[in-house]
Homo-oligomer: 165 residues x 2
């Protein structure tokens, strides 16, 4: 459906809150109260983010989560990768190669890969820092249609066979 999952969305809210004081430690309870999302849900998101080492957990009393890196070094793509269950990909074949039965003779696959790659790069270039920036003065991605350099046909073939994002 071309949408990030709600959990990933929550992830961005949670991280956006934490990015306001990047060195602070926040408990799940604390965050849940402040963003108005149920505690178990926030907990799930944070645990997932911790596994991807986007936040660092401190157990025990006075524990909580803190950002592992500075907001400007955490890309939106990394957040999506951490929380989404399926690998990133606009089409089935760009997400997991080998599943689609059309893959061998598909005439749109190579170009879908390019489109996928463009979107992917856009999200890699956007950081948590951008996400929490005041909109009126932030930078953001803008898309331009540009001629692509010729591509080595051999390399393309490789991509087509093993290929993935």
């Amino acid at each position: 459906m071309l949408r990030i999952s709600k959990l990933t969305d929550y992830g961005t809210i949670v991280l956006a809150l934490m990015a306001r004081d990047p060195l602070e430690i926040y408990s799940a309870t604390d965050i849940a109260r402040r963003i108005n999302v149920a505690l178990p849900t926030v907990g799930k998101v944070l645990k997932t983010l911790a596994r991807a080492d986007i936040v660092t957990a401190t157990r025990g009393s006075h524990g909580g989560y803190s950002l592992s890196r500075l907001p400007s070094t955490i890309s939106i793509a990394q957040i999506i990768d951490a929380i989404e269950e399926q690998p990133f990909g606009l089409t089935e074949c760009t997400s997991i190669a080998g599943l689609c039965m059309q893959e061998n003779h598909c005439r749109v696959r190579a170009n879908w890969m390019r489109i996928n790659q463009s979107v992917r790069i856009a999200l890699e270039n956007l950081t948590l820092g951008d996400l929490v920036a005041e909109t009126v003065q932030s930078t953001a991605t803008q898309i331009q249609k540009v001629p692509l350099p010729k591509i080595d046909a051999q390399k393309l073939e490789e991509n087509h066979e093993h290929g993935c994002s």
Copy 2:
């Protein structure tokens, strides 16, 4: 899950086939056989595309579907809009406003809207023509991070209230 639905994907395959001879009439049976997808499924896709006036149907014997417009004037965004059930949107609020309970106090919403808009524009600028072009010599979208012009705060507020893609 940040993926177009399989049906939309089939839509691009079907249209890619039709784009090879943009004036030809193709029956669903014919297309199904040539792209190796089950007839009922291809039929469903074509009926949906016909409703969106991307293809034009001719009933009766010797009937079938033909492209309503030239491939270079059919954008990928239009194809997605035609077939996806949910409106286009990377987040819930960019797809359908008013559903998300965080919407009123969400600090990432405005920026998600921008990201959404960027992706949207990229897909509007890509056409069926691009999709069927030989990859080695085609154009495609590439993403650049550029400073955005300052935005009128009043207009932003409007967006925030009624806002949607």
